[in-house]
């Protein structure tokens, strides 16, 4: 929030460079995406994407349907290649390590990078508690006390604890859509990820539930790096520090959210953010 506020104070005649420097201190690069291409069968979904994502920021990928924004986010935790016929090439460097390196186990990568999906997908047979604990149990953590602590912490982190603390044994499917989505966020947080990928997390939710998720993004980015895919421009403007505009599998423009919305460099971006297409 602060970054956007401070940006407002800057007078319009400040040059681009000083604006960048004054807007916020340079943060450490968390993920750098280098020359990523992705395919579904023979159809190319991503064309040579290059991007730096900084630590403790929220970055929004936006663009019209089919522009590749979901594919890109799914390339960042190697989920894309799980789809039959899909493949990805290029480098995604997480803290200096290329996650597409041959020596890297994709399973380990997913433990460091959490993911929340378009539709809430809690495990239907499990209780609220077990849903959050699922990742811990999958990774062989057996200490009951530790699991309990992390579950409580994660539910608190996802802003759900107060609502469910007395019904942890009830099935997760009994919650409302927005609560289910926050349950899924808690499930991802329980793994203590460094990055949280959110693939249109509010597209199936009502406005109130959506705003709760957006508040969460603001809160969570203090501890981790968030990348959020959205087709909702207002949402991108509200939650993201950086925004990337994609079109037909290409990265058209990437920069500070403010700049993308108010002073885009590309005409295509301008037309998209002003609602002329998409």
């Amino acid at each position: 929030m602060e970054d956007i506020l401070s940006a407002k104070e800057i007078s319009s005649d400040t040059s681009e460079t000083t604006r960048r420097i004054r807007e916020e201190p340079r943060r450490r690069s968390k993920v750098s995406i280098k020359g990523v291409n992705a395919w579904f069968g023979s159809k190319q979904a991503l064309k040579n994407i290059n991007l730096e994502i900084e630590e403790n920021t929220a970055t929004a990928f936006m663009g019209p349907s089919g522009c590749g924004k979901t594919t890109l986010i799914r390339c960042l935790n190697r989920m894309h290649e799980m789809t039959p016929g899909a493949k990805a090439k290029g480098q995604v460097i997480l803290d200096g390590i290329d996650i597409y390196d041959k020596s890297i186990d994709p399973v380990i990568i997913k433990r460091r990078i959490g993911m929340v999906f378009q539709k809430p997908n809690p495990f239907p047979t499990m209780s609220i508690f077990d849903n959050v604990a699922a990742g811990l149990k999958l990774n062989g953590i057996k200490d009951k006390k530790l699991i309990r602590e992390i579950v409580e912490e994660s539910l608190e982190g996802a802003g759900l604890w107060e609502e469910v603390k007395n019904e942890l044994d009830k099935p997760g499917m009994g919650l409302s859509g927005g609560q289910q989505q926050r349950l899924c966020i808690a499930r991802a947080l329980a793994m203590q990820p460094e990055i949280l990928l959110m693939d249109e997390p509010t597209s199936a939710l009502d406005p109130l539930a959506s705003s709760k998720i957006e508040e969460l993004v603001h809160k969570l980015k203090k501890d981790l790096t968030i990348i959020i895919v959205t087709h909702n421009m207002q949402q991108a403007a509200r939650v993201a520090d950086r925004a990337a505009f994609m079109y037909l599998g290409e990265m058209i423009e990437y920069g500070f959210t403010k700049q993308i919305f108010q002073n885009p460099e590309q005409e295509l971006t301008e037309r998209f953010v002003s609602g002329k297409f998409g």
Binding site: N77, M79, M82, P84, V107, I108, K110, R111, G114, M115, F117, K119, N121, P122, F123, P124, T125, M126, A134, G135, K137, L138, N139, P171, M173, G174, C184, R187, A188, M191
Partner: protein, 289 residues
């Protein structure tokens, strides 16, 4: 229809139940000689249950394995022909399996499985009998081959409807393939897989001609299997064996009585399966997408 059948079977079985009472179910002798008639169904109930249990013990894990391999692991190029072949197995008439088992397969079972087990593990009572090849164990194995196509193809359909979002939920938590199966896929598909297994069990219990050819057709107390390699008899196979030569009314009624027990048995299994499935579905409110 079911009521009509049940009524006819019940009526036919009435004389034997009025002559022997409940004793019919728990007695072991079987004597059809006129004047010295006595009939007990226990050995055949055991034979039916044991051969089906062996079939399930072998068939269910293999079926699950096939279904998991086809849906979760194999590429399209392998999975499509494989599931086609497995389903083709379901189209083979059981008499063909019976002939093959009688002339070929039972020697394989005897020489490759039963003999080594007997020679090395005969201190375990299950295996302590010189194997002959026509016995409860072979019948169970052949039955399992017969039920594998059914169970595996239904299980495959069930796994295919598990939504991808469930798989991805597990994968995104850093689950391995096995972890995903255990956490996301099995719990979701559990009730359906159970239903598929019981469908296979129903088939195994009622299977007649195949079992008649393989099981050894023992009669009376000798038909109580003391080892896995004993000759036995199932309810259905005994009916098939003796129906043509049933001389007295009481003998005929005894055979129909076996049919009544068989009918009851498969009803119990079916209702039990439905009960278990519905109870599991209740645990998952709105679990289906």
């Amino acid at each position: 229809m079911l009521i009509l059948v049940a009524f006819a079977v019940g009526e036919g079985a009435l004389p034997i139940f009025s002559a022997e009472g409940f004793q019919f179910v728990i007695r072991t002798d079987w004597n059809a000689v006129y004047g010295r008639e006595s009939f007990g169904a226990l050995p055949y109930i055991i034979g039916t249950l044991l051969s089906s249990a062996i079939a399930m013990a072998i068939g269910v894990p293999i079926s699950l394995g096939i279904a998991i391999f086809v849906t979760e692991m194999a590429s399209h190029r392998i999975s499509t022909p494989l599931s086609f072949v497995v389903e083709l197995l379901a189209a083979v008439p059981s008499i063909i399996y019976g002939l093959w088992a009688l002339f070929v397969f039972r020697f394989w079972v005897r020489d490759l499985i039963e003999r080594p087990l007997y020679e090395h593990l005969n201190w375990i009572p299950f295996f302590d009998k010189t194997p002959f090849g026509l016995d409860i164990f072979t019948a169970g194995i052949v039955l399992s081959i017969m039920i594998i196509p059914i169970i595996s193809s239904i299980t495959r359909e069930i796994l295919l409807v598990v939504p991808n979002s469930q798989r991805e939920a597990a994968y995104s938590l850093g689950a391995t393939r096995w972890g995903t199966l255990k956490t996301a896929i099995f719990p979701y598909a559990k009730s359906g897989i159970l239903g598929a297994s019981f469908l296979g069990l129903g088939r195994a219990i009622g299977e007649t001609i195949l079992v008649t050819m393989i099981i050894g057709n023992a009669i009376g107390p000798a038909a109580i299997p003391t080892t896995l390699f004993s000759q036995g008899q199932s309810l259905a196979s005994l009916i098939a064996n003796e129906f043509n030569e049933a001389a007295s009314d009481l003998h005929l009624s005894a055979l129909i009585g076996l049919g009544a027990i068989l009918l009851l048995l498969s009803m119990i299994i079916n209702i039990g399966a439905r009960f278990m499935v519905s109870r599991m579905v209740k645990v998952v409110p709105g679990g289906r997408e």
